[in-house]
């Protein structure tokens, strides 16, 4: 089966530091891939490269066979690749509903407002944020904001691949469950592909059939969580740097 | 020995060539005028026209300067600001080697330039700048061929007396020009013990809205409103006073001759009729032969009748050329001496002198001051009624 998202020899340097060095990644359509590794391994850099926040120094990124290198983040989003941020980028002064409508309208070029509203209503329902639909997003609790941020990504029409950067960090179990349910649902119903960066091994085990381990900017191992956990070098890398 | 001789001959030849070249250099007369805002560029352009025609006259009918040398004009923009004015004066003296600098329109610029002139020694001549201190400070370098505050104020006090106005509102901009005139008005009215109540209000030259002051003035119920603004504030006041219903029931006097300019009726098509204003030239006046030459040349070139700013610009450049001739030198000290002791021809029929007189009349020659009135909309200024005619120079 042809990969949905591929990177080849992907390299990024910041000054003298090699944040990612020659990363070859291949994600199948419909996969939920975990991306794990100690702090400073380059996971967020990889996500930023894929999402087009900055250009790579070398290598290629392909979505559905087409190169994403050189495209701006908004163009990448319109191709169907969406990402969420570790520190939530919500629009605090806009209502919850508006936060949901924006990604849809932005990518549909402003047309189809009706479809956008329907889709937003569906997700408001699923997440039980309906009662807060018209409240400014900044009035939501921390957990609700994390949920909203994740859900906003689902609003993109033509969503193919969703990259989530630490979506579970510091939020309560109920919200965590809600996010997990959402991911599983959309994965099954619409065959959305996911890449999830996380330190929460229990969740990674539950959601991700395969994980990719990054250490010091390189892919150290790939396989099921049990396979990679058994590898001595991976353990050493983690222990050397300490768990979070 | 022969090589020494060759070097000597070569050096002498070079020196001779240099002297010949120098002798052919034109005598430069500097013109410092406002050509861009916040200065009044219309005034500057008009003065410039006069200066340029003066050069033609000097090099043509007058036969040149100091024998066979030509006169040339060097022009710099003062922008109506003191810093630019100082820089402009310096440039005219050090780069253009002007023998004198004239053209001054804004009083603040002239005053600033005079301080520098005191050091550098090249004389200045005010063409249309009227603040007292320009000549009142008795600087050897400072001269003027324009109406000074006392004469202008004397003219409008005559007007006030003649019309029997009892309550007069003065709105003056806070520049040397505005404040000077406001203070002089107070002074002279006290001296003459006039039975007139004055209300004096000052405003910033850059004000965008004179409504608050005009409302206060309206509440004072004046018989006359004296508009001592220059450029935009003057126009603003004409319009806003009309909007608030002060004019035309209460007459307004504009303190300088802007209403004679062609744009005036474009800016004030509905509010210009009935306006009184100061002017310094009326076509009914007799001109000198140079003045006649000028009027004809101006009409041919610009298809308009000449106005005071151009006439005086012409006159000033002409006077300087004559002074250089009388001094038989371009040395600034000699030119100053010639200006003080000589008699000169300008555009009017009366001769011009710059005596070391008392007070503000020092080094000053004043043309007559007129107060005109537009009696109909879109009226040609030459048809405007002459209400007051007040003699010029020292009383």
């Amino acid at each position: 089966m042809a990969a949905l998202l591929e990177t080849r020899e992907l390299t990024k340097r910041f000054g003298g530091l090699v944040a990612t060095g020659g990363v070859d990644l291949s994600i199948e359509p419909g996969e939920i891939r975990g991306l794990i590794g100690p702090n400073g391994a380059g996971k967020t850099t990889l996500v930023n490269l894929i999402a087009g926040l900055y250009p790579p120094d070398a290598g290629d990124i392909r979505l559905d066979g087409q190169s994403l290198v050189g495209l701006r983040p908004h163009a990448i989003a319109r191709r169907g690749l969406v990402r969420s941020f570790q520190v939530g980028r919500l629009f605090g002064n806009m209502s919850v509903r508006e936060n949901l409508l924006l990604p849809y309208l932005a990518q549909s070029g402003g047309s189809d407002a009706g479809a956008a509203q329907v889709r937003a209503a569906r997700f408001l329902d699923l997440t039980r944020l309906g009662a807060l639909a018209d409240a400014p997003a900044k009035t939501l609790s921390g957990g609700q904001r994390a949920l909203l941020q994740v859900v906003a990504g689902f609003m993109a029409p033509g969503l193919k691949c969703y990259v989530l950067d630490e979506p579970f960090a510091g939020i309560n179990p109920t919200i965590k469950d809600a996010i997990i349910d959402l991911i599983e649902q959309e994965n099954q119903a619409s065959r959305i592909t996911f890449i999830i960066v996380s330190h929460e091994m229990a969740i990674v085990r539950r959601l991700c059939r395969r994980v990719t381990v990054m250490v010091e900017g390189r892919i150290a191992a790939e396989g099921t969580l049990d396979e990679v956990a058994a590898r001595g070098d991976v353990l050493a890398a983690y222990l050397g740097r300490g768990w979070t | 020995m022969t090589s020494m001789l060759r070097i000597a001959t070569a050096t002498l030849a070079l020196l001779a060539a240099a002297t010949v070249a120098h002798a052919a250099d034109p005598v430069v007369i500097g013109l410092e005028i406002p050509l861009s805002p916040p200065g009044d560029p219309t005034a500057g352009q008009l003065i410039r026209r006069g200066g340029e025609l003066a050069i033609e006259y000097i090099n043509g009918p007058m036969g040149g300067v100091l024998g066979d040398r030509k006169a040339a004009l060097a022009v710099q923009d003062s922008q109506g600001r003191t810093e630019s004015g100082i820089a402009a004066y310096r440039r005219l003296v050090s780069e253009d080697h002007a023998v004198a600098v004239t053209g001054f329109f804004h009083s603040s610029v002239n005053l600033a330039a005079n301080e520098v002139a005191k050091e550098l020694g090249v004389p200045t001549m005010a063409t249309q700048a009227s603040a007292s201190d320009i000549t009142g400070k008795h600087y050897d370098v400072a001269f003027r061929t324009h109406v000074i505050d006392p004469v202008r104020v004397s003219a409008w006090l005559d007007f006030i007396k003649a019309k029997n106005f009892k309550r007069v509102a003065i709105l003056a901009e806070t520049t040397d020009y505005g404040i000077g005139l406001a203070e002089e008005t107070e002074k002279q009215s006290k001296q003459q013990k006039l039975a007139v109540e004055f209300m004096t209000v000052t405003f910033d030259h850059g004000s965008t809205d004179l409504t608050p002051l005009l409302l206060q003035v309206k509440a004072f119920r004046p018989d006359l409103l004296v508009n001592i603004g220059v450029g935009q504030p003057m126009d603003l006041m004409v319009e806003q006073a009309a909007t608030l219903g002060i004019t035309p029931q209460t007459p307004m006097l504009v303190s300088y001759d802007a209403p004679i300019r062609p744009q005036f009726w474009q800016l004030h098509p509905k509010t210009g009729a009935g306006l009184y204003f100061i002017a310094y030239y009326s076509p009914k006046q007799k001109l000198s032969d140079a003045g006649e030459w000028f009027a004809k040349a101006y009409e041919e070139k610009y298809k308009e009748s000449p106005v005071y700013s151009s006439l005086n610009g012409f006159g000033d450049v002409l006077i300087i050329a004559q002074a250089v001739n009388q001094a038989k030198s371009t040395d600034p000290k000699a030119v100053i001496k010639a200006l003080e002791t000589g008699t000169f021809k300008s555009w009017t029929s009366s001769p011009v002198t710059f005596p070391r007189a008392d007070g503000v009349f020092f080094h000053n020659w004043s043309p007559p001051v007129l107060i005109l009135q537009y009696t109909a909309a879109n009226q040609d200024w030459k048809e405007a009624s002459v209400i007051v005619e007040h003699a010029g120079s020292a009383p």
Partner: protein, 297 residues
């Protein structure tokens, strides 16, 4: 002299001029909220709006169709801004410009000088006016020039339309999002570079509209933008950078303070009262009355 009638008249005059100032300030604050830079040449776009209005009326439409000419002039200025932005402002974001704020200052001041001198060169330094046939109107006890009142009403309408644009349209949604988080908006699929162009165009278009409406009131000449720029910035400081209600409230406040101060305290210091208000706000509430510290995306 103080009477109730005088007070009311002065107050009304202050409100009228204040709303007009606010239209200027709106453009500045709006551009800042999206493009994150201060456009120092705002006054020059105001000036161009005035010239366009003058030309449209004198050459083609005539004085009475001023209300047709004004939106056209505003659109013309919008177009100018829209076309200039990719040349002058966009490099700030796309190339590796160090010290973006310094770059923005230099570029917009250069633009200021260029536009001002261009206007003087093309049109001459003279003052012009498209004229107005609107009659004087009584606003309560205050006689107000028809043109000034018309400008006031149109400014209010423009501000209302602008508000609707921001709140009700999809473009407005995108603009608000970009103002709050540039990266967030990009990631959501908004082409922020195209948006910058539009935002810059709208911002200068507002200034151009102010210039067109005020052409018969304050006249048109190459430096007519200078005073309006100063007022615009005073309002931004008082109201808070990036706040639209702030621009309106601060504009009216400034107009009223200047008006009352000039009338009842001392006229020549009219502009000083505004600056005193600015200093007061800076001391008491440095981010402005409505300002809040937005996080840099």
């Amino acid at each position: 002299m103080f009477t109730t009638e005088l007070f009311v008249q002065t107050l009304i005059a202050g409100v009228v001029i204040g709303v007009l100032y606010a239209l200027m300030a709106l453009g500045i604050t709006f551009i800042y909220s999206i493009v994150k830079m201060i456009n120092w040449s705002m006054g020059e776009f105001y000036m161009i709006g005035g010239y366009l209005q003058y030309l449209l009326i004198v050459e083609w439409l005539g004085t009475d169709l001023w209300w047709v000419a004004a939106p056209l002039s505003a659109f013309g200025v919008f177009l100018l801004g829209y076309l200039l932005e990719p040349l002058l402002i966009k490099p700030m974001f796309t190339t590796a410009v160090e010290r973006k704020d310094d770059y923005a200052i230099v570029v917009t001041i250069a633009l200021l000088l260029m536009l001002r001198n261009l206007a003087a060169a093309l049109g001459g330094p003279y003052q012009r006016t498209p004229g107005s046939n609107l009659p004087t109107v009584m606003l309560g006890p205050l006689p107000e020039s028809g043109a000034r009142l018309a400008a006031f009403l149109c400014a209010l309408a423009a501000i209302a339309l602008f508000y609707l644009l921001l709140k009700k349209t999809w473009l407005g949604l995108a603009l608000r999002a970009a103002a709050q988080s540039r990266i967030g908006a990009q990631t959501a699929g908004v082409d922020v570079f195209r948006l910058d162009q539009v935002a810059f165009g709208i911002g200068v278009g507002l200034a151009g509209l102010a210039g067109a409406l005020l052409a018969p009131v304050f006249m048109v000449f190459p430096t007519s933008g200078v005073v309006t720029t100063v007022k615009g910035f005073e309002i931004i400081v008082i109201g808070g950078l990036g706040s639209i209600p702030g621009a309106l409230v601060a504009g009216v406040l400034l107009g009223v303070v200047e008006s009352l101060g000039a009338s009842f305290i001392s006229a020549p210091y009219q502009n000083v009262y505004g600056f005193l208000l600015v200093v007061l706000v800076l001391l008491v509430r440095p981010t402005g009355l409505f300002g809040e510290r937005t996080r840099q995306a």
